[in-house]
Symmetry: C2
């Protein structure tokens, strides 16, 4: 663990921690006035600070130094049809955040078994994973959209849809370029319908394989996020390392 604990406060102009983070600092870590902490807004800012009050619901801090880290050049957008079992989605959000993902979207497909997602809970999981993995950019998580509505808003140039059939054996790692924003669509437990596949392909999605094994939805998502993080140009991410002095 780093010697200085990292907290999340999306609005750094407030100079105090959120209720939840205050509780963690004061009640769990038992921090005292003058203790050193780090605070990020999840938007690239990493502030060094010291605690100036120990109110357990509103612990105040004073920023002593602040650095802004740029968002990485090539972004990864994961779009997934949520599984029925929400624990598997929590795990997926935690692991994808740790490994590195810039945006996670939830998509309602024809065979989706889950009509709603507990977005607030999933955001909490992402915050915790961001802090645990010492990152300063929070992945964007958004409300679930129907498949066609979601597709009409896709902006990434490199578009992949995880699906294997006889006409396709292109592995994601072979298809993705070393640079550039990309999106990976992972289908529901019941898979995409032919109409959904056709629609995605009609707007420039390429079918990709994630290897020979049959993967669960959340495993396919994590596989994809690792493969996209590990693509050729590792140097691409070097500006993201938090250097502590």
């Amino acid at each position: 663990m780093p010697s200085v604990p990292l907290f999340y406060q999306p609005d750094l102009t407030l100079s105090h921690l959120t209720t939840e983070e205050s509780h963690h600092a004061i009640r769990v870590l038992r921090m005292r006035i003058g203790a050193a902490l780090e605070v990020t807004d999840g938007l690239g800012t990493l502030a060094s600070a010291e605690l100036t009050s120990t109110e357990s619901r509103k612990a105040a801090f004073k920023i002593t130094n602040s650095t802004k880290f740029p968002r990485r050049a090539s972004q990864i957008h994961l779009a997934v049809a949520p599984t029925k079992n929400i624990d598997r989605m929590e795990w997926m959000v935690e692991k994808c955040t740790e490994i590195g993902v810039d945006k996670i979207s939830f998509v309602r497909c024809h065979t989706s078994e889950r009509p709603k997602i507990p977005l607030e809970r999933l955001i909490k999981v992402a915050v915790s994973a961001m802090k645990q993995s010492e990152q300063v950019w929070m992945p964007e998580l958004g409300e679930m959209l129907p498949f066609d509505q979601f597709l009409s808003n896709v902006t990434e140039v490199q578009r992949f849809i995880a699906h294997v059939d006889e006409t396709n054996s292109n592995h994601l790692t072979k298809m993705v370029k070393h640079q550039g924003d990309c999106i990976l669509l992972v289908g529901p437990e019941g898979d995409f319908t032919k109409d959904e596949l056709d629609l995605a392909i009609s707007i420039g999605f390429t079918k990709v394989s994630l290897g020979q094994n049959r993967l669960r939805t959340e495993t396919a998502a994590i596989f994809g996020v690792v493969a996209l993080n590990a693509r050729g140009s590792i140097a691409d991410y070097s500006d993201l390392r938090i250097t502590r002095t």
Copy 2:
């Protein structure tokens, strides 16, 4: 889901399912005499069979056809210092098995917080993940060994140890060859000691990075297994696909 359920019976000469698999076939799936099933021994055999009795603790079957699939040419061995929280290890075994791993070893390091592992439970998780992902080779799981004893038995030629410091920024995906057996060592939550690192390096391990983010033990393990599965020669694994007629 495949229309024909897959069961695991390590000894196919017995012609009946294990107690647990029998229960699943008869009580959960409510299969009847004459129903089609598939059985694997986890050693590459995939047998088509039909049910000949519905005893709920010893359901018998008759094999109608059997195919032996070779083990993949380039094997992946994951060696990991187990986390304190065993749920995280179960999850790791499940995901690594789904994605593809040939052997999972548990290693006791100087800073390991867990002196024992529930091996039987972890094997059950692997069996379930093997079936779920429609594979016919079970990964080998073995009892935990002390670090130095484990190292003295390593046979793989390509040896990697996940560790980042100032002298190392070689990403695993850049260091691994497209072919050949390899082992990846992932350290405990408290990391390897300098002595452990030195010992590993002295017998041919290379330090590798898994990217810039600080990953939990189980996340690093999954990251490594995906990266090793996704390495260059995807065609390498094509003989593993189960073709159903």
